[in-house]
Amino acid sequence: MLRVQPDPFDPGMEANAFAARAAGAGAIVTFTGIVRDTDARLAAMEIEHYPGMTERAIAAMMDQARSRWSLTDALVIHRHGRLAVGETIMMVATAAPHRAHAFAAAAFLMDYLKSRAPFWKKEMGVAGTSWVAAKDDDEDALKRW
């Protein structure tokens, strides 16, 4: 399941609903990304996206994850728009018979979401706004898959 939305969501409730749907899975891995204020200078974050391409790109990643690992289910929820510090940006969940598959698929989806899904983060700080720069680390992370 895939949702791209401006509205907040409850990650625990989503994880429980996902687990209830994922019949036959012994292992569920979730990742949750949260707006973090590293040095107390961030007021909010604005996430821009490319409607249409976002959904296509994430659906393609999920298909790839399903083809590479034995998953009984997968979930991606990603917000866009304005988010306050401490708010949940996105979550990924994977369900599999075996834990190694659930872990690998969740890490794969995260690495691809970071660098290949059309989202752009802008930090609204106390000293102005700035676009978050892509990290070489994130690009490098794709090489392992």
Binding site: Y50, M53, M90, F119, K121, A133
Partner: protein, 82 residues
Amino acid sequence: MIDVLYFAWVRERIGLPRERVATTAATVAGLVAELSAREDRYALAFSDLTALRVAVDQELTTFDAPLAGVREVAFFPPMTGG
């Protein structure tokens, strides 16, 4: 006519999120050259192509991608989702 979309700081530099462009360019690179010749704000946005990514009909591609039959081209910086 092609829909050309801009995101993040590319959108801010060019000053609009999308526009319809009449072009005879054969490739994305040709379209970039046409746009850059229009005005400084375009030239500035496209001054360093290594800092940009391009999607054609909502698929990531490279600047040498052909434009024949294409409906939508989007320019944006490297993604920072997740």
